[in-house]
Amino acid sequence: MSWPPLFPLPIDPATAILLIPAIGVLLLVGLPSYKLGSRFNVLFAFATFLSSLYLLVERPPLGRYLFVDDLNIVFIVLGGFVAVTTSVFSASYIGHELETGRLTPTNQRFYHAMYQALIFSMNLALLANNIGLMWVAIELATMTTVLMVGMYRTHAALEAAWKYFILGSVGIALALFGTILVYMAAQPVLGEGYDSMVWTTLVAKAHELSPDLLNVAFVFLMLGYGTKVGLAPLHAWLPDAHAEGPTPISAVLSGLLLNVALYAVLRFKMLLSANPNAIAPGPLMVVLGLVSLIFAAFMLYRRRDIKRMFAYSSIEHMGIITFAFGMGGPLANFAGLLHMTMHSLTKSAIFFAVGHIAQVKGTQRLAEIRGLTESHPALGWGLVIGVVAIAGMPPLGIFMSEFLVVSSTFARQPLLAVPLVFGLMVGFGALMLRLTQVAFGEPSGGMAPVEASYVPLYSHLALVVGAGIYLPGPLVAWFQNVARLLG
């Protein structure tokens, strides 16, 4: 391809994926009609996704504020896609909520505006070429999700949002302190002012920065952004936020926000691993990852609420991903990226299914949902495929990443693989136990047919299955570059 096709908009795509949602916010705040609102929501999300696709073709030159490299483009495109499918899903979901009166028209205006705001802030966080800017963006994202989680204004929802807000803000504070420390470390080398907060310059000069300050900084950043990633013991907000908010938000949280926070952690990991004298960030991440994995795996057993259960499974998988990146090395990093991608797709697909299930059955309590494959075959089997995928069974995508993580770990650090496999087994047992109860046996609860499009659900599942069988060459090459970047 000699000349990239001209980008349809007068601005460069990087700016576009920020501008489009920003406009969306302003527009959607004012739109009273639900139908129009949801349509426009999908439209804006789709436009954003398209422009992010254009980034693959041609990258705008490095800016002082925004930049695009192999690492964040992965997250941007993935996020764009999940945002589109989720907006499609939320169109039908919110419609149903309005009918049942759980939401008011004001809510839905607010909801759609916030949705766009979330997309905006996440893209900003990913594109930011400045640790301060990234911090701001992530905070913005947190705030918007807090508001959306509390949207039902039920006792439980408020409690969840409050918990999320308090823990989130503490995380914010810690992250900010870490950021300041990084600046302090950079300032003697890069001089005062803006340059000391720019990624590209920071990474370039990483080996000259004071290692001790970086160590302390990484502790704060790991805890601060780790709170957003939902690593145990900082996870407390995550299950409730997933369980009590509107299901599209659960999907977005698991599919996108966790990834964005993880992206921040990875950036700083790159910074540290570029500095020979600093502590290797790997062990810390490995430990946190294992703790989250095993803890979440055990927590899965006693769950009564279906959404909360899958929220814990998100913690489990974030643990696996953190573990993989902590292990480092081309294989493990590749596996981590793959796992992250697959988990976003699968988990959001599961939440799509769960959302409709909760709507038709009129409950989120696991005990009251039975025999789905019989009462709602399309939903039930969709859920089965999703859970089987999330449990890491072939031929679905997550199996490939788990295969790489486990086997490479066992070959390098056999003792580390033991707790890893243990946690995976325990979690697998819990998921399968619940799946057997929910999907099979005598059907119970509401039998009404679902009026919703299965497109989001099955498009995700198709991608996951496809990826499990065949990964396109360019994608692989691209992942391998990133894996090398991560060192």
Partner: protein, 220 residues
């Protein structure tokens, strides 16, 4: 001269830590808010001093923000809330004052050790500042952990923010971005908290976290 500048900066930062301890020590909501306002004033002074020392004028803005927002508006608003809820008298702390103070000491010591070791190369002004800032942050966190009451937790959270501002101010030549973001986040924080207090009052007649915590995810 250099020495004097340092000492004053040191004094003010130390004062901030001191006020944090006072916060920990308070047992009455109204006095808690008062002390918080005091801390904000001290913060303002120290930031202003930093501005003077580093002759970085933009820091005066930060100082201004701190003064207006933290020393006046927030305490006032919170005390309104507190009175309207009629909980201005008591705060029940966890584990008593004494142990809390000891823990606070521990935190300060820890932050000193960590920071002074880490910033051996940085310029002395920044060193002192960072060490104190870290202890203020830790103390604020400690306060959030040892108070059962929403408002006092919010106060604890704000004192964490104070620590951050102190650190940011200490960081020589740190661009305005950060201060604005801090102010902005505090603003957002306050708004959201306000919203929440409001909603919470709609539902329960207090901001006791117990009332929130009785749900805790899944009924057991």
């Amino acid at each position: 001269m250099e020495r004097f500048l340092l000492d004053v900066a040191h004094l003010l930062a130390g004062g901030l830590v001191l006020t944090s301890f006072m916060l920990l020590y308070q047992t009455r909501m109204s006095s808690l808010l008062a002390v918080f306002a005091l801390q904000a004033v001290v913060l303002t002074l120290s930031v202003a001093w930093q501005a003077h020392v580093q002759n970085a004028p933009h820091l005066y803005i930060t100082a201004g923000i701190a003064l207006v927002l933290k020393a006046i508006i927030i305490p006032y608003a919170l005390s309104r809330v507190v009175r309207s809820l009629g909980i201005h008298r008591s705060i029940e702390t966890v584990g008593g004052i004494g142990p809390t103070m000891l823990a606070g000491m521990g935190c300060v010591a820890l932050s000193m050790v960590v920071m002074l070791k880490a910033t051996a190369t940085a310029n002395p002004l920044a060193r002192e500042d960072l060490a104190f800032a870290l202890s203020v942050v830790l103390l604020g966190l400690l306060m959030m952990v040892t108070r059962r009451n929403a408002v006092s937790q919010i106060v604890g959270f704000m004192s964490i923010e104070n620590g951050l501002i102190l650190a940011a101010a200490g960081a020589k030549g740190m661009p305005l971005v950060v201060e604005i973001s801090v102010a902005f986040s505090v603003l957002v924080a306050f708004i959201v908290i306000g919203v929440f207090l409001f909603r919470i009052r709609e539902r329960f007649d207090s901001v006791e976290l117990q009332a929130l915590d009785d749900f805790r995810g899944e009924r057991r």
